[in-house]
């Protein structure tokens, strides 16, 4: 039997992707104040928190398919 294709876009994931791309781009252009460990808050947010965001968003899709 042929597998159902589904016609609905994964809108929640697409929204999370837009937040990642647009938010990340804007964050790269801001002059951030210095944070812990001699790094500014922008580096903490985009680089280190960015990985957490990507992993969490991926797991959301794995669990829900949305």
């Amino acid at each position: 039997m042929r597998e159902s294709l589904g016609t609905r876009l994964p809108l929640v994931s697409i929204t999370l992707m837009a937040v990642f791309l647009v938010g990340g781009t804007l964050a790269l252009l801001v002059d951030w104040p210095e944070g812990p460990a001699h790094l500014d808050w922008g580096v903490w947010l985009v680089v280190y928190f960015g990985y957490v965001y990507v992993v969490a968003a991926s797991f959301f899709y794995v669990k829900t398919g949305k």
Binding site: R2, E3, S4, L5, G6, T7, L9, P10, S13, I14, M17, F20, L21, G24, T25, L28, L29, W32, P36, A37, H38, L39, D40, G42, V43, V46, V47, Y48, G50, Y51, V54, V55, A57, S58, F59, Y61, V62, G65
Partner: protein
Amino acid sequence: MSLTTQYGVVLVLYFAGLLGLGLWFNRRVRSKSDYFLARGKLGPATVGFSFSATQMSGSSYMGAVGTEKLLGYNFSPAGVSSAAAPWFSYVLLGSRLRKIAGRIQCVTIADILEARFYSQAASLTATAIMLIAFIPMIAAQLKAAGNVFEVLLGMPYLTGLFLFGGIVILYTVLGGMQAVAWTDLIQGIIMIAGFAILAPVAVSAAGGFSEMHRQYGELNPGAISFLGKMPALWVVSSFLVWGFFQIGGSPASVTRFMIPEDEKSLRRAMAYSVLFQSFIYVCATLIAIAGGVLLPSLAEPDLTVPTLVSALLPPIVGGVIVAAVLGATMSTIDSILLLAGSLVVQNIYVKEFGGKADAGRGLRLSRVTTLVIGGLALVVAIDPPAAIFWIVTIAFSLMASAFTFPFLLGLWWPRATKEGGIAGMVGGALACVFWYVAGYAVHGAFNNWIGGLWPALVGPAVSLLCVVAVSKITPPPDEVLEIFFQP
């Protein structure tokens, strides 16, 4: 036992293992489809690691760490974006591509384009663009491996090149997709182990996380944040390009979506890919910053990883990490080699020339083709042009420009037509090449573009415009709607 001998022992054992795997799967491959795709024969971890190992090449490991050592956090957003690449690709392309591949029982990604754009011209255009991009890409990876042998083992470049190239071509020819995917999994695990050891050792040697950053900021003040070394548009472009545009830029990885037989396996494969790539890129950033502190005057930044390995780790552990870097190179070569072979056999020999390819003959032909393409790349790598690493980046940009939007709109937009799809591929590719040439004409270099705007952003933008505009003015594609859009 000398340092070189210890490295040599680890590498010989490693390569022997890979060849053994090729021989083992050689006996299990029964047909052309088995050889190129192995649909339903690989689990989520194997598919996920294989996707990522294909996307992250050895030269990009060495090159990315080297570039990040110089540019610091100006370059790090590209790493985060690269870690997100599987998320974009699986969600926007993978699920739908897998189901459609199952419906039309295809072998290559060009088959999907041919079915969706109901035209052999679409498949031939895609095949031509990919083959043009693949040979220099394989040659560049082989050259990177030859250089590693030269630096670490003191082996002449050509000996290292033929030894390494011979092994990777041989196990790919023997075992096909199953051997490739399983070696990708093993190589991925070794890469994780290698970076998991090197990153904390390097950070600790640089004084710990906070002290390392203080020293790096003093040595390289423009690189401790996002802006300072490179123009803002360059930083933003690299963040956008290395994630989203891998959808079109890495067709050898995308082929992995056609392997799983059920949705659950595909999603679990995505989890493996994202975790694997995130871990590697976090470690790469830490190693690069530590490298900036520990090796501030290293003449060749691409040698940061092997230099840190030989300075900080015992030879046996160092040998494993070097094997991991070579493994990354291998997993990119084997996947591209396999896809190139499948395109020549399936989309040129069988479909274009009406060649017969039953199970036995198809399999023999596939192996010979893979061998010939590998041999060609080996010949190019003997004396490659100086700019070959820029040719690799151009090849990636070319495919990202040509395929990202024809793939996405072809799968999600019923109104996309044959003419729109072909115009998107050709228009995107031409715009990308034009932007590189224009940058070269203005700045005299392939890595300096007008306004800092990457060709891999310009090409896809033109491609998107072409697909939409041309589809709107040409008749709608009634005959493919059932297969591609009926639930």
